[in-house]
């Protein structure tokens, strides 16, 4: 296990990993391997990110209360998936990032993906989903100030996150299938997945529109009550 004692070093790593290391792996993947290994490179990136996050998370100090809050939010987002037409994962991940910070956001996002797949079945998509939702949580943490301030911005970000999530997952599926990116195939996949994506984006926006405020209030209340 990687133990990073120095807090500032840890902070640097948490910045370096998403912005530098990952693009680097992608670049290496493109130039060194042949084109057909794209899907594998993407998978590699996802796995590396998740692993690096885990290592960083393990070494950091997390109070039991923060840990419980993350577990509660992850469980809520997965339990919510059992309600028909209800897909709260992205929204809750964003809310977690906004109110509890990027690390908790990443944790809630990747945990929700992992646990969902315990119920719905694992696949090569598991690390990829963990990565995608984790990143949504992480960036919501970075953008917490504007996201909390402007509701419009929040809703746009929510729609984008929902849409991008579906799109990225589709791209990966195509790459996995085809070995490389094929636009016509991708377009076909997009069109067939369109109703699904629209529901996804809509439910995300509706969810954030109605619940972002109340959940924020509730979270700030328990943060005071818990003394986080």
């Amino acid at each position: 296990m990687i133990v990073i004692k120095n807090a500032s070093l840890r902070r640097i790593i948490s910045r370096v990993v998403p912005y530098i290391a990952i693009p680097l792996i992608v670049a290496v993947g493109i130039f060194v391997f042949e084109e057909k290994r794209w899907a594998m490179v993407a998978l590699g990136v996802a796995v590396c990110t998740v692993l690096l996050f885990l290592a960083g998370f393990d070494s950091g100090k997390t109070g039991s209360r923060r840990l419980i809050l993350s577990a509660v939010l992850s469980a809520l987002s997965v339990a919510g998936r059992f309600i028909p037409i209800f897909k709260p994962v992205t929204a809750i991940t964003m809310i977690a990032g906004m109110w509890l910070g990027g690390e908790a956001g990443f944790l809630v996002g990747s945990m929700s993906a992992l646990v969902s797949n315990i119920y719905f079945g694992h696949g090569p998509w598991t690390p990829f989903q963990m990565f995608a939702w984790g990143m949504i949580g992480l960036f919501s943490g970075y953008l917490s100030v504007p996201l909390r301030k402007s509701r419009i911005f929040l809703l746009i970000a929510g729609a984008l996150a929902g849409g991008l999530y579906s799109m990225i997952m589709d791209i990966w599926t195509i790459m996995w299938y085809n070995g490389s990116m094929d636009l016509s195939l991708y377009a076909a996949a997009m069109v067939t997945a369109l109703p699904h994506t629209i529901i996804y984006v809509l439910s995300n926006v509706i969810f954030l529109f109605i619940l972002a405020g109340p959940i924020g209030e509730k979270l700030s209340r328990v943060k005071i009550k818990y003394g986080v």
Binding site: I68, E217, R221, G227
Partner: protein, 545 residues
């Protein structure tokens, strides 16, 4: 040997006006079984939490708590965490892990113990507490009693020397509660473990404890073995009403000065038979108020949750008359709560008929059933709350809140979750009463309530009934049913096996009955509540010794 010493302990919450605890001093010896009692708000939970460093509330504290001769603050983190164990009220929420074995291991993992130590300790705990058969199970699949036993075992795995329990049986049914107390007694006797326990229901604890510490408004009013402590509480009704029925009876009859205070049913029975004749064997029967119109008819109802599941209701039939208070008693899993759900149209019945005020349940369309007809008070009032303050929560139910005696001015801006259990229940009741129901359904209305809240809710329900409301309650609480109900019924395996007025019902039962009935059985007939017992004893007069 002294293990815990509290000296001049005072405590005030940052938001509170008056101190919660005032200059408390006492000490506990190793191996003692101490019961801490006090009404809600007496500060007993605060005191217990101050004895456990990790859970100590924030606020102004003065005085000291010493463990093994050292101040609690001076202990190293490991000792503080492992040697003082703490078990709380809600079995469900204390469990942190998904599997039983992991829950047992959790504390030892936190202490950084090695795999081998944890493996051995888990095996020991599983064996000692009889957990082995469900060692691999998921914690969510356990019953309430098993969950609380697991919580106890998980704390015991860390080898504590002092065990502190804050109302551990409040959320359990009576059978699970006495099993739990039995286990506590066993570890106290066999391992000489020091136990400090706070509890609402003391019927079973007082007879077995070594010492009773009574708290009233943040002060210790009694600290002695139970027989000596009880007479000191004679002038404090709030404390007295939690005591065992036998002790309350003796004190109501003014016998506490003559010999020892009885603690158990056996001692109570002996006391009655020694001191009172039985020339008058029974009290005159109350004239039953009998409006012969049925408010609820339940005829040959069958229900199961899933196609392949077992039948939960097997041709259940009963009726509740208008203006009647009807109580259904029965063990866990007997189907009584399911029957209540069927009346509230939450469980759709498979066959049979349910009529409410003469109209079939299925003919109530578009939610008309829930508008000024039927209301349901769920077991967990928190399932009803939607808002952040009590004022918003009870909008439109202000009159009901006032009628129930809920202080809306004081609590207006309080979050419903910050109210005490009893007040949460009143708030929920106000909410459901605001639809002006004619039939009120209650699921375990006395669960987890202290004696004062229990009396208050009993009183309120009686008043509602007198105002013409029909009430159907499902409960484990025989004393409550005897006090409040007009008729009681026993549920077993999805059927009603007996019904009757409390007097007929409890007098005919031998096991499932009230303490007052057990004490007077054989000497008097048909006595089921404590006031009745007091009355008949007085009527007969003291025997000349």
């Amino acid at each position: 040997m002294e293990i815990l010493r509290v000296e001049n302990l005072s405590f005030k919450y940052p938001t509170g006006k008056a101190p919660t605890l005032k200059e408390l001093s006492f000490s506990v010896n190793e191996g003692e079984f101490v019961v801490l009692c006090g009404a809600t708000g007496s500060g007993k939970s605060t005191l217990l939490r101050l004895l456990k460093r990790e859970l100590a509330p924030l606020g102004e504290k003065s005085g000291s708590v010493c463990y093994g001769g050292r101040s609690l603050e001076q202990l190293d983190a490991r000792t503080a965490a492992s040697e003082i164990g703490f078990v709380m009220q809600r079995p469900e929420q204390q469990i942190a892990a998904d599997k039983v074995w992991h829950e047992l291991a959790l504390g030892l993992e936190n202490l950084g113990e090695s795999q081998d130590v944890i493996r051995r300790r888990c095996a020991e705990m599983a064996g000692y507490f009889g957990i082995a058969p469900w060692f691999d199970r998921e914690t969510s699949k356990l019953s309430g009693g098993q969950k609380q036993l697991l919580n106890l075992a998980a704390v015991m795995a860390m080898n504590p020397r002092v065990l502190i329990l804050d109302e551990p049986t409040a959320q359990l049914d009576p059978i699970a509660a006495s099993d739990f107390i039995g286990t506590l007694l066993k570890i106290n006797r066999e391992l000489s473990l020091t136990v400090i326990i706070a509890e609402h229901r003391l019927e079973e604890l007082i007879p077995v404890c070594d010492r009773l510490i009574a708290l009233d408004c943040g002060e210790i009013v009694a600290d002695a073995p139970p027989r000596e402590a009880l007479p000191l509480l004679a002038s404090r009704p709030a404390l007295l009403r939690m005591m065992p029925a036998a002790s309350r009876l003796s004190m109501a009859l003014g016998l506490e000065t003559k010999g020892e205070v009885p603690l158990t049913v056996r001692e109570g029975k002996r006391m009655i038979e020694e001191h009172y004749t039985n020339k008058v064997r029974s009290l005159p029967a109350k004239t039953p108020v009998a409006p012969e119109v049925n408010a609820l008819e339940f005829r040959d109802v069958w229900f199961r949750y899933s196609q392949k599941g077992e039948d939960i209701l097997r041709g259940t039939s009963f009726h509740v008359k208008q203006g009647e208070f009807f109580c259904i008693l029965g063990a866990n899993g007997s189907g009584k709560t399911t029957a209540l759900g069927a009346v509230a149209a939450i469980n759709r019945i498979f066959s049979g008929k349910i009529k409410i005020f003469g109209k079939q349940l299925k003919d109530y369309k578009n939610g008309t059933l829930y508008q000024s007809c039927l209301a349901w008070l769920p077991q967990d009032p928190q399932t009803l709350f939607l808002r952040n303050t009590l004022r918003e929560e009870l909008k439109g139910a202000e009159a009901e809140a006032a009628m129930l005696g809920l202080d809306l001015v004081k609590y207006a801006d309080t979050h419903p979750y910050d109210l005490s259990g009893g007040e949460q229940q009143l708030a929920a009741l106000a909410r459901v009463l605001s639809t002006k129901p004619k039939l009120l359904l209650l699921d375990e209305p006395t669960k987890g309530l202290d004696a004062a809240s229990r009396e208050r809710i009993t009183d309120i329900l009686r008043r509602l009934r007198d105002g013409g409301m029909t009430i159907l309650a499902v409960t484990h609480d025989a004393e409550f049913a005897a006090d409040a109900a007009d008729r009681c019924a026993l549920f077993f395996r999805g059927e009603i096996v007996s019904t009757g007025t409390p007097r007929e019902f409890f007098a005919a039962n031998s096991f499932y009955t009230t303490a007052a009935n057990r004490m007077t059985r054989g000497h008097y007939d048909g006595i089921v509540t404590l006031p009745e017992a007091v009355e008949i004893c007085r009527l007969n007069g003291e025997a000349k010794a």
